[in-house]
């Protein structure tokens, strides 16, 4: 991952934070120096043995493979895949987690978009599937996929995060696992579909309606209650994911998209929306997506995935090879709006520096942050913390635990013992460059 290895001169870059955090123009400046150096035949030293003479590789000497109808990643990228919680398909929920430590940018490819299904992935014939909107409406209506495609379609980028993402961090001791295992139940895509408010203009809304339930056509018939205000704001019946029809694990042929709300509410395979005066208190909101608190009460209707960030590189599973300049990079997002600011620390939160936010910064979407860093070969603790445009700050672990508590013992890695963890995450780097999960 090293962009520049070795002993570039420390005095040529501006330090913006302790323990090697560099000004965000540092890499550009090095790049310019390097280019200039090539031009004049002299310049900064690059460490390592001199390169071998170049040769033609085998793939340069013979025709390649035929082009497939639907392309898959290179066999050399075969580890860039999801991890499966239930590979033998036992009679229980199946999760697959996104390998954030092996991805970059802000859009999650469809093949590695996280999924959770509660009774398998249904194979739905889009010519048979229908969406019913009824309840407290003036006229119940049925919509086919074909009819939905005749409405005005809109596209937006939005992250989706399971309420149980990062649940191992409720542990009283740091669980040693990579970003994929700890934070892999969040992904981000461009979604295209029909706004739910457009369809409600067709059915009309009875003024007594304050909530709606959405229900899936899969065998679990997953049902959630959603405030009607969300339907009239930015809820969408999504038909396309990153430009192609939804993946079966993500709701083909149509799903409810509630930007910023916990994943389970974004009902996949949506077949029914019913407007109601009150929430239905389904199993998923009576038990599962509640958050027991230290005081014996429990949060109900948490809904919003609050402002959060984590570093994807370096991270557990992405060790540092040698001292030198690296880029610290990660993902920030908020279910409330746009990310306004991200700071990075290399000394466990003692000092902080502003990270660069990669454009475009979109509401309720992944924002990629970047920060150049010189690792001097000594111990370091990397952290990121984010703010959103509403002024919400990502809490420190201590702040988070003070409100939400932590578990009394280390949970199994795949357990969901509480939900909606969004505190600062720490990666500890030792003198060998190994990266571990730490609490700091």
């Amino acid at each position: 991952m090293a962009r520049f290895s070795g002993n570039t001169e420390a005095h040529t870059v501006e330090h913006v934070g302790a323990n090697g955090l560099l000004h965000r123009r540092a890499l550009l400046r090095h790049g310019a120096m390097f280019a200039g150096a090539l031009g004049v035949g002299a310049g900064i030293k690059i460490t390592g043995a001199a390169a071998e003479p170049l040769v033609e590789a085998p793939w340069s000497l013979a025709p390649g493979d035929p082009v497939p109808a639907y392309q898959l990643p290179s066999k050399f990228a075969k580890n860039v895949v999801r991890t499966l919680s239930n590979p033998d398909f036992e009679p229980r929920t199946s999760q697959s987690r996104t390998p954030h430590h092996l991805l970059d940018g802000t859009i999650t490819p469809n093949g590695v978009f996280f999924t959770i299904v509660h009774d398998g992935v249904p194979e739905i014939d889009p010519g048979v599937h229908q969406l019913l909107i009824h309840g407290l409406v003036k006229q119940p209506l049925l919509f086919s996929l074909e009819t939905l495609l005749r409405f005005p379609l809109t596209s937006r980028v939005a992250f989706l995060e399971c309420g149980g993402n990062s649940a191992p961090l409720f542990s009283p001791e740091p669980v040693q696992a990579d970003v994929q295992a700890l934070h892999g139940l969040v992904s981000c895509a461009e979604w295209t579909g029909v706004k739910l408010s457009t369809l409600l203009e067709e059915t009309g809304v009875d003024p007594r309606a304050k909530w709606f339930i959405a229900e899936g056509a899969d065998a679990a018939h997953v049902m959630r209650s959603v405030p009607l205000a969300k339907a009239l704001d930015d809820a969408m019946i999504a038909l396309y994911q990153n430009g192609e029809p939804l993946m079966p694990g993500n709701g083909y042929p149509m799903r409810l998209l509630l930007p910023g709300y916990e994943g389970n509410m974004n009902i996949k395979y949506v077949r029914r929306i019913k407007l109601l005066p009150e929430p239905a208190m389904s199993y998923w909101e009576s038990q599962v997506y509640t958050e027991p608190l230290p005081n014996g009460k429990a949060y109900q209707f948490y809904f919003v995935n609050e402002v959060k960030s984590f570093i994807t590189q370096p991270s557990p599973g992405r060790p540092l090879q040698q001292p030198g300049v690296y880029e610290i990079s990660g993902i920030a997002y908020s279910g409330t709006g746009k990310i306004s600011r991200v700071q990075v620390s290399a000394d466990g939160g003692a000092s902080w520096a502003e990270a660069a936010l990669q454009e475009p910064v979109l509401s309720k979407a992944f924002t990629r942050f970047r920060m150049p860093w010189r690792w001097n070969g000594g111990p370091a603790i990397l952290q990121s913390r984010a703010w959103d445009e509403a002024g919400n700050a990502q809490p420190t672990r201590a702040q988070f635990v003070a409100e939400r508590g932590e578990l009394s013992s280390v949970p199994p890695l795949l357990a969901f013992k509480n939900h909606h963890f969004n505190a600062v995450v720490s990666w500890a780097i030792d003198s060998k460059g190994a990266v571990t999960h730490a609490y700091a």
């Binding site: 009824h134 997953v222 429990a298």
Partner: protein, 188 residues
């Protein structure tokens, strides 16, 4: 409703044009449907009991249904003893005297946590058995609901559970919640 049905019989197209005139901007792309035709999908049950169907059941009737359809995953008597071949819990216990422990979600049970009883009928009917959801009759679902409530000592063992009695079942943790929405959202 009679007028509605006559309109439907007279032709969906004509009806849709009528709706379009009433709503001005309507695209007339949705198809109207009569309430009776929605019934097979209209399965949500509200905490008030709204939506509960006709029928009834008792714990005695539910015990053999549970043994035949549920115990393979939820354990004998619903006590969650079984594990899958991987060692993972196959399904949570549905009958338990477990106490809540700290902030551990996995110690939440129907008896110590659920605020209302009608969602139990809703969930069994919509999602169970895992291998063949929607295969039980409404009477069987009522009987399973009665069995689980009685085994959890939330109702008397002889109580008949139906659309009138189920919403009246008092759940101990009814007032154990803090509603997070809408205080923390931009949609207040």
């Amino acid at each position: 409703m009679r007028t509605h049905k006559i309109l439907l019989l007279s032709g969906v197209c004509t009806f849709a044009i009528g709706i379009g005139a009433a709503f001005g901007e309507s695209r007339n792309l949705g198809r109207p449907i009569a309430p009776a035709d929605m019934a097979p999908w209209d399965i949500d049950i509200e905490p008030s009991g709204a939506g509960l169907p006709a029928g009834s059941g008792t714990s005695d009737q539910g015990a053999p249904i549970f043994a035949d359809n549920c115990a393979s995953c939820h354990g004998d008597g619903g006590r969650g003893a079984t594990t899958t071949t991987s060692g993972a819990p196959a399904a949570p216990p549905v009958v338990s005297d477990m106490k809540r422990s700290g902030i551990d979600d996995t110690t939440l049970t129907i008896a110590n946590f659920w605020p209302y009883a009608p969602p139990l009928f809703d969930y069994i009917r919509r999602a169970m058995p895992w291998t063949s959801p929607r295969s039980l009759t409404d009477d069987q679902v009522y009987a399973l609901t009665a069995y689980i409530l009685a085994e959890n000592k939330l109702i008397d063992a002889k109580q008949v559970i139906n659309a009138q009695t189920l919403p009246k079942v008092q759940m101990p943790n009814r007032n154990g919640f803090i509603i997070r929405f809408p205080g923390s959202t931009p949609h207040d």
